[in-house]
Amino acid sequence: MEVKEKKVGLENEEYIINMGPQHPSTHGVLRLVVALKGEIVQRVEPHIGYIHRGIEKMCENLTYQQIIHLTDRMDYLSAHINNEAVCLAVENALEIEVPERVKYIRTIMSELTRIQSHQLFWATFGMDLGGLTCFFYGLRDREKILDIFEESCGGRMIVSYNTPGGLMNDIHPNFQNRVKEFLKYFRGVIHEYDDLLTGNVIFQERSKGMGVMTLEQAIAWGLTGPTGRASGFSCDIRKHNPYSAYDKVTFREILYTEGDVFHRYLARMEEMRESMNIIDQLIDNIPEGPYTAKMKPVIKLPEGEYFQSVETARGELGVYIVSDGNKNPFRVKFRSPNFVNLAPLNLMASGSKIADLVAIGGSLDLIIPDIDR
């Protein structure tokens, strides 16, 4: 792109800076072309595609089992949930009922994924705002969840644990104990998160009233996840279209009306607590049974179109599969939450300061591979 700087007198001069592709606060290879006037952001233009891998194209030549490992690499912090989305779409298309045990385990894994994702959000958000210590506390606690994943799934971030019809392998015998241990530990330290950042006067001043999205705007732009719910947009797929074992648990959908950076942050903090409650309800009641339904080695979906939404840590992930009856899908589309949440960045950030742009970008919790796919 050609970046032209207008040179018509000092007061009309735009100061264009390039945040990214390599920049500490863009969390990946996102490039923001920011037009400044002094410290004030005039407009932001996101440039994406630096790690576009063509996952949708690749999927057209892979079988449904093989697609799973690509979804891990989209939103790598919600790997379990991404896997689940494809699995659910395939299972719904084939009209397979997966065992109860699988549903419970998937739900617990999804919620653990959500907690670890929000922990990393807290860590990096603190770092974006200059509180470097947050980063280490967040990662310290996240490590414990990754260990749980590693023990059962064999991978830490890139888990590939779900497979159409069930799971790759059963949970490790230690799984329940470890999860309970973690919940006990994390309930003990989560107050540190609030002490260090939430209650901090500097943090509150930095985040309150910044990057406001009203309910109407949030709906119009289709913001989902904690970003949308902070604006009062009740968009929790777990609540509205429950999948897996979410219809068996009671939980609260975190809703705020302010829609600013602080409430996006708060929504994530509260979601961590809600996720712990969900796990509490399930962890002792995992039914016995097989860990996978009976599946044919080659899955062929009947001709048709299938759409499945799940709630990842960042919002609604939609999987749209068009099948022509072959073992490979005809077309796969991932409606990724980050892609949609990034779109109104200009609307949120123009008129604020550079520091606010960083805070707003941080509060969207963007994962760039998910945007680019």
Partner: protein
């Protein structure tokens, strides 16, 4: 009652006399200056190296980490290894940079911090120069560094650097007021600007105790404002690495970067040393009126240990700020100064003047 058994004035006087006895006065002064210069330079380097190590260790412990632990026992030689690395790093030439100003900027910053070092009283009689306007001199010299920062930002031909430098300019100009006003509060109480006399006046109690409430307020404002003045977190807007990558020193590498880096730590030492001198009795030991035995033990501890100990405690406080708080935004930074610190400070000076007038201090 003699408080300190350690007096360096006779020692320095002896050096002066023996030099003057053997050579012409002009040469003697020149040699004295050389000695002082070398001593301060060595001290400067040691303090710099130690503080870098201390900062890394402190932040590591606060963050549940170990910190440097590979080079030498407990990693104590880590900063020396870093220094050697920085010395060998290529000085990357910047396209379209203003070459002269670009190379000059780090020296201005480092000279400013170097000059401030000269006036600090480390112990009785142990200072390079005892100006009768010591406080004034320290303030004037320590605010010179901003010129270097501005030059660095301008000459780098980098947009981030320029924003960082402008932020730094606005920040230091504002906070210089608070630093000055809070020092004035104590000058009112002490009745002098000479650092040695300020320390001497605290013989029977540090000013933070003697001036009670106004002195305490002045101290809090001083420590916050001076953190801002040294460009340290939570006021590190000039470098704000999550916004401006590295701010004004984005384009610097090698030894020039090392100068900025070192100057930041030395400035931290200097502001902590000023706070020690002005509020905590400088090199004066901690004495409680009436506890003779306790006071005697305290007096045995050498004054420079007292001085460095107090300074170290304040430096730790500044580090503690940095590793706990998120960064402020530029408008909040200025709001804090102009809406909170400055009004409070002005009233505080008035209260202090009233207290001194009425004799309500200890």
């Amino acid at each position: 009652m003699e408080f300190s058994i350690y007096d360096f004035s006779s020692f320095t006087a002896w050096i002066d006399q023996s030099l003057r006895a053997s050579m012409s006065p002009g040469l003697a002064v020149a040699i004295e200056m050389l000695i002082i210069g070398v001593v301060i330079l060595i001290f400067y380097a040691i303090v710099g190296l130690f503080l870098v190590y201390a900062e890394r260790k402190v932040c590591a412990l606060m963050q549940n980490r170990l910190g440097p632990n590979r080079v030498g026992p407990g990693g104590i030689f880590q900063t020396i290894a870093d220094l050697v690395k920085l010395l060998f790093v290529e000085l990357v030439p910047i396209k379209n940079a203003d070459k002269i100003l670009f190379s000059l900027a780090p020296y201005i910053v480092i000279i400013a911090s170097f000059m401030a070092m000269g006036a600090l009283p480390f112990a009785k009689g142990l200072h390079a120069i005892d100006l009768n306007i010591g406080v004034f001199y320290l303030m004037a010299v320590s605010s010179m560094g901003v010129v270097g920062v501005l030059l660095a930002g301008w000459a780098s031909n980098n947009k981030y650097s320029l924003i960082g430098a402008m932020r730094s300019g606005a920040q230091i100009v504002s906070y210089e007021l608070s630093v000055g006003m809070s020092l004035v509060t104590i000058v009112v109480l002490a009745g002098t600007m000479q650092l040695s006399e300020i320390v001497q006046a605290q013989q029977y109690g540090w000013f933070i105790f003697r001036g009670h409430i106004p002195a305490l307020i002045a101290f809090v404002i001083f420590i916050v404002a001076s953190t801002a003045e040294t460009n340290r977190g939570p006021f590190d807007l000039a470098e704000a690495e999550s916004e401006l990558t590295a701010g004004f020193h984005t384009e610097y590498s090698g030894i020039r970067f090392a100068f900025f880096f070192l100057a930041e730590y030395i400035n931290m030492f200097i502001v902590a040393a000023i706070a020690t001198t002005v509020f905590f009795g400088g090199w004066m030991p901690f004495n409680v009126y009436g506890w003779e035995g306790f006071n005697k033990v305290m007096n045995l501890i050498p004054p420079f240990i007292w001085f460095l100990g107090k300074t170290g405690a304040l430096i730790f406080l500044i580090m503690w700020f940095k590793w706990t708080f998120p960064r402020l935004r530029i408008d909040q930074l200025l709001t804090l100064e102009w809406k909170y610190f400055l009004p409070i400070n002005i009233i505080n000076v008035l209260i202090m003047a009233l207290i001194v007038l009425l004799g309500w201090h200890w």
